[in-house]
């Protein structure tokens, strides 16, 4: 219970990553980072994370969406809460309509627009971890 929560961040902007990571590390979270979707998916396979912080526009387009969709199809990864951080809030509604990218997507409203204020970030992360915890471990 006292164990530190394991967070993964997938974002291709190292500067942005550093800015977020410093806030989360100071709040006693363990944060792993992947700078592209391939490494991100590999990290998700290898380790069990309590929360994923996900960028949308990476590489050749909206690769973040691809990751979210892939996770939605995976019975194990589906249980990992996702916090989407994006600079394209308006476009995303246009691009993807109201269709949920992830099971938690609509339920807990976990999209934040970059840049993210520390207080807001920590509140949202905490809320998502709680919601994720309630769901319990993945069903067999």
């Amino acid at each position: 219970m006292t164990q530190r929560k394991q967070l993964l961040m997938i974002d291709d902007d190292p500067d942005f990553v550093d800015g977020i990571k410093s806030i989360l590390t100071a709040a006693k979270y363990d944060v792993d980072v992947a700078y592209n979707s391939k490494d991100g998916l590999a990290a998700l396979e290898k380790k069990k994370y309590d929360l994923l912080l996900l960028d949308i526009m990476m590489g050749r387009g909206a690769e973040g969406v691809m990751i979210a969709r892939k996770m939605g199809r995976d019975p194990k990864l589906r249980e990992v809460p996702v916090l989407i951080m994006t600079g394209i809030r308006e476009q995303i509604a246009f691009l993807f309509g109201s269709k949920a990218l992830h099971p938690h997507f609509v339920e807990v409203d976990e999209m934040l627009e970059k840049p993210v204020e520390p207080k807001q970030l920590l509140e949202r992360v905490e809320a998502l971890l709680k919601a994720g915890g309630k769901k319990g471990p993945a069903k067999k």
């Binding site: 800015g19 806030i23 840049p115 520390p118």
Partner: protein, 372 residues
């Protein structure tokens, strides 16, 4: 090497075909011929002509029909009708239907060359215009994405690190250091907001805004707008008064956009008010329209500047002392016009300015599909 122009000649008279061919071949054009309308249309599809010479009087389908079908396939195609003197009337009719010009038979080689050259020049201009228009649309469509990625992303990364640094350093900073960090955050937040405004000015409202139209209470929009402008007004000691008619009818529209339009106009009024000034916001309905007026007793706008206040990036002489880029009113106009409304302005330098937004009220005997 420049692309050769393609000319299609549709005529059933062998003599005309031969003379056209003889004249035009010398000018190094690519030429195709058809002896009736049906064959001409089939040929046009694979040949993709720049210019077409078509006889109005042919057996089978008429020149008119050919003309219509050709223009449907390529609206930029330049068509010249060939006609006998007796049918000048129908040549005029053909021009009304989009033919570029007509050539009365018999014609001299010079007349043919001249009219074809003019037609090809027209074709070049039409294509150029189309290309430019397409490019402009593309720039417009992609602008949001480009600005977002190239400007917004680096700025938000910087801002994120300032947030991070402020959180990490916290107690270690002395007051001036903390103050400087705060000021940096404010400056970057302002820049991000500015980019947001640009994005909105180019990308919204577009045509699909109409799909989201629903009955909107303008009272709500005005309340929100006044609330938004209030902090700025308080700082400048400007009093905003709000007079909204009881039972103001709803209009059809997008509440968020309409609120933004009113916010921009009210903000503008506060901005150009003098300290201690007042801004009056009124709304009333008359003659099937709702009008919202926003009046200030501020610096006013010079008469020669008035026609331009709704153009993007315009800032009048009297605006010189204020900061801004001049997009608020341009955006307000775009929003109002996308709601089939109008926005107007009256002003006297030194006395003040009144903006009026007027929006149509859906007729009660013609209820919208959404209404029960």
């Amino acid at each position: 090497m420049e692309k050769r122009s393609r000319i299609l000649i549709i005529d059933d008279e062998e003599v005309v075909l031969d003379s056209c061919l003889a004249v035009l071949k010398r000018a190094n054009h690519e030429i195709a011929v058809a002896r009736d309308g049906t064959a001409g249309l089939a040929l046009a599809q694979e040949f993709g002509p720049d210019l077409i010479l078509v006889d109005l009087m042919m057996p089978g389908i008429t020149g008119f029909e050919v003309l219509e079908a050709l223009r449907a396939a390529d609206p930029a195609v330049v068509a010249i009708v060939i006609t006998g003197y007796s049918t000048v009337g129908s040549a005029v009719e053909a021009m009304k239907r989009g033919a570029f010009d007509f050539l009365p038979k018999p014609f001299t080689p010079d007349e043919l060359r001249l009219i074809v050259d003019r037609g090809l020049e027209k074709r070049r201009l039409v294509l150029e215009t189309l290309a430019l228009r397409k490019e402009r649309e593309m720039v417009r469509e992609n602008f949001a994405a480009i600005v977002s990625h190239e400007l917004r992303s680096p700025l938000s990364a910087v801002q994120q690190n300032l947030y991070g640094l402020a959180a990490e350093l916290g107690e270690k900073l002395d007051d001036t250091q903390r103050n400087r960090l705060e000021r940096m955050k404010v400056r970057i937040a302002d820049m991000l907001k500015l980019i947001e405004t640009w994005l909105r000015a180019v990308s919204v409202p577009n045509d699909d805004i109409r799909e989201r139209f629903a009955p909107v209470s303008l009272r709500t929009c005005i309340d929100k707008a006044v609330e938004t402008a209030q902090p700025h007004a308080t700082r400048k000691d400007v009093a905003i008064t709000e007079t909204v008619a009881e039972a103001l009818p709803c209009v059809r529209g997008d509440e968020v956009s309409l609120t933004e339009a009113v916010v921009n106009v009210v903000n503008n009024a506060v901005k150009y008010s003098k300290t201690g000034g007042k801004v009056e916001v009124k709304a009333a309905a008359a003659d099937g329209r709702v009008t919202i007026s926003v009046a200030d007793n501020g610096v006013g706008i010079a008469p020669e500047d008035l026609p331009f206040v709704f153009d993007g990036f315009f800032r009048g002489k009297t605006a010189a002392a204020e900061t801004g880029v001049g997009l608020g009113l341009a955006l307000a106009r775009r929003i109002v016009e996308s709601h089939d409304g109008a926005i107007s302005v009256e002003s006297q330098v030194g006395k003040g300015t009144t903006f009026v937004i007027s929006l149509p009220v859906p007729a009660p005997d013609n209820p919208s599909p959404a209404a029960p």
